[in-house]
Symmetry: C3
Subunit: 349 residues, 3 copies
């Protein structure tokens, strides 16, 4: 129940090297990634055509992926290049996945390769922009990837799951507004004249702005297919304009969530935060990364137990409340696109 004719994040750029191949299952497909002699990333079936060993157990030698069992060498197109003392013309080609390196990540198109379209890769303004800094990590989560979409498109859970860090009761108390624009779903919540929660009060301080004063706080969650969610989050001194306030009155950032199905019941969760304050403070980047990692580990525990419990109560349906609108509509977008993909139509643009 996931799209495949689309770009998914398969790895961080720094995970894929010219020395050791990396094996990772994406959309049920075991894939091996490595860098060739030009430094370009390649992605292939993680399956040696000779005896079926995972190629990720092998090595990269002068830019060529070499099986660790009998030395078969495979090219980035999936064709066997050589094997000691063997003629390799008749060897079956293994699948070569369309792959792009963008925004600090390796993106893979697990579906029909002929439909892969680099122009359908999303663009992110904060990438490569010196006014911004980015830090993040990767979690493996044993849950359907859509439970993470539900989680991120409804932030009222912060009050309960993240009470000690970013939660506050005003999130629950403030209605959210959900909009669908084409394939995009947006859930917006504005809290006016509230106390800044711990993280944001600190952020005001880090940015050299006044702390411990009432703020206007905003959260704008933006889902785009297949399962990427960017959340603009910030606070401004109360009454200065909120998200539109001048820079000397606000701090904000973008929570970046790239969600990639591994199997029907598990996902790779690439999380991070891009911020436009103190972009050169690497200590702060690491501090935020650690804090966010701890917060998102709380979600991980919730989602894994939720997944197991839904399996234990197979006859129950879960509710779709107002606060769930973001997740519900995002799932509808996925379902619509899935139907189109299965009918052979081009995917989202």
């Amino acid at each position: 129940m996931f799209l495949t004719d689309t770009w998914y994040v398969a790895a961080r750029s720094d995970e894929v090297t010219a020395d050791h191949p990396l094996g990772r299952t994406i959309c049920r497909k075991p894939i091996v990634m490595y860098r060739d002699a030009t430094g370009a990333v390649a992605a292939l079936d993680d399956f040696c055509p000779h005896r079926g060993l995972p190629l990720s157990m092998g090595t990269v030698r002068e830019g060529l992926l070499t099986c660790g069992y009998h030395g078969l060498v495979v090219g980035r197109d999936g064709c066997t290049v050589s094997m000691p003392a063997q003629r390799v013309q008749g060897f079956p080609r293994i699948h070569s996945f369309p792959v792009l390196e963008r925004h600090g990540f390796i993106w893979i198109w697990p579906g029909e390769a002929s439909r892969a379209d680099p122009s359908r890769m999303p663009d992110y303004a904060w990438q490569g922009n010196p006014a911004w800094a980015y830090g993040g990590g990767l979690y493996h989560v044993k849950a359907d990837y859509r439970l993470m979409i539900d989680n991120l498109m409804d932030l009222t859970h912060e009050t309960w799951v993240h009470a000690a860090s970013i939660g506050q009761s005003e999130i629950d108390e403030t209605p959210c507004e959900t909009m669908v624009e084409g394939d995009e779903v947006i859930t917006r919540r504005l809290m006016q004249g509230v106390r800044a929660p711990h993280f944001w009060n600190e952020a005001l301080g880090w940015a050299g702005l006044q702390k411990d004063v009432p703020v206007d706080r905003w959260q704008v969650c933006r889902f785009t297919p297949p399962s990427h969610i960017l959340i603009e989050v910030g606070v401004a001194h109360a009454g200065t304009g909120g998200a539109a306030a001048p820079a000397e009155h606000k701090v904000y950032g973008i929570v970046v969530d790239f969600i990639t199905p591994e199997t029907d019941g598990s996902m790779w969760y690439f999380w991070g935060m891009a911020r436009n304050f103190c972009p050169n403070d690497e200590t702060l980047t690491e501090r935020i990364r650690e804090g966010q990692g701890a917060i998102f580990a709380q979600d991980l525990a919730i989602l894994e137990r939720q997944q197991a419990n839904l399996a234990a109560f197979p006859d129950r349906r879960i509710l779709k409340l107002d606060i769930d609108a973001g997740g519900v509509r995002s799932r509808r977008v996925i379902e619509r696109l899935l139907a189109a993909e299965q009918a052979g139509a081009p995917g989202p643009t």
Copy 2:
């Protein structure tokens, strides 16, 4: 293959508090238990009607069970009481299990609630009686609960499994007598003029009676549905009347076994011992508890391997010998009551 229209022990009283809910699967049903504002125990489906998270991951706030994901509050009747910024009238009710607190345990009726009958709760003379002391524990055992019934209704295994503590060859050598009285099965063994095994010789000493003399030893195992077994065990100085001997010549107690199916292949085993000697000696209570825990851990290892081996040899039948009569007849009582339960008739009284 277990009765459900009946009372099972689900927890020790001290396991269920007003702070943290307790999740436990009983008869394949995940159940959450907690104490409400009055201190009374409630038992519900361990499933939040909103997004399916186990409610046992939540908290109890002022006697109300609150989900840890979005703050849904559920009442002891299974109806949603409130949820931040949501109208909850239409929320589906989750199942509220009939629950009683008796004899230091929480008892749950996992079956049809309308048939739950507090008068069918068994009564135990030793509970609340100052002449008796009780100590016990809980084991999770990966085996069909009926293997534990077989084990406890045939104590010849003590000679082999518990040779170093309570076993003695005279158990094997002395025939047992098995009787069925209604839904109750009783297996009785009397050993006359034997050496007291280690535990009982010590017990004579603890009670201030003469040690190291011949004794008459008795074991009376009593099965009652659904799967409770009480075993009166004791020794008396030989020739003074056995179980009927005057108090200055005997020590005895009741091994208490409440067996609760978790799944088809696993159980909760609440074990303990009630004794009527030295009731105020808490050090002795703890010492007996530790010894009994070690002995019953030997049974646990046996049963788990037995369960796995029966699965490895699916075409074999196990024998039903004289010594197995207690278990065989107890299983027959269960089968008869199960047939009645499935036909909709009232259960055991």
Copy 3:
């Protein structure tokens, strides 16, 4: 997919004692082995006919296998000998497997006992010969036993998997010759005038021969049903006659591989090396054993990942190249004998 009317190695001789029974699954059959009062090994269903406990949880008392649950005693013929206070004539007999102790191993015939034929036990010249020494070990490998046959009948993998110990590029570069002789498959590779790899260069030194000179190296893999592979491996000073060189110019040994299926996806792998140099040097025996254990652990890792990957790509076929001829033909012998076995014909002789 394995033969059963044949002899498999079930244990090393020193694993089976007169004190503790040993349980081990062979060809999907849980088997208990022990030594009786005469020191002879017996092998039975690991299943007590009374309540199904594994007999390997019991004890051996004066040469009799005794169940650890209720003291049932079973004879080496599978008939119950006694049980405390029970008449045992009617007890079902459990299967007694034909068993032989030869060459330092316990051999079991898991199939039809009436067809068991001691004359079909293979013979090994190095056993009991004072000019030879033997050392070895046992690995449990979660892979189809035939993947180990493929591995051992094609040693080109040494170049890649064992590069640091016994691998060298000349193995890949030298064609091998594969022959089928009845039920036996032989793969032979001769490398002339090569550098001796680390292990063999050392071996020349251990044997007191000149090191660091060109050698002729040979590897002769010999498969015999059901799944035994002996590999004669050695080096001789170049030009002195190779395997036929006089003793003062060569060192060689036999890699002994007894492969026993446990289940369809796992095996017991009894590995070792018999050598005819320095036979009395026990320190050397242990040193070789450790080195070989480390090398074969590399194969273990390969095979387990290969097994898992073949399951992850169920629609792929693996290639059968020239270098794979040894494995391919060995599998064909097994298939032919399996068809005969299933048709009820006598097995290999």
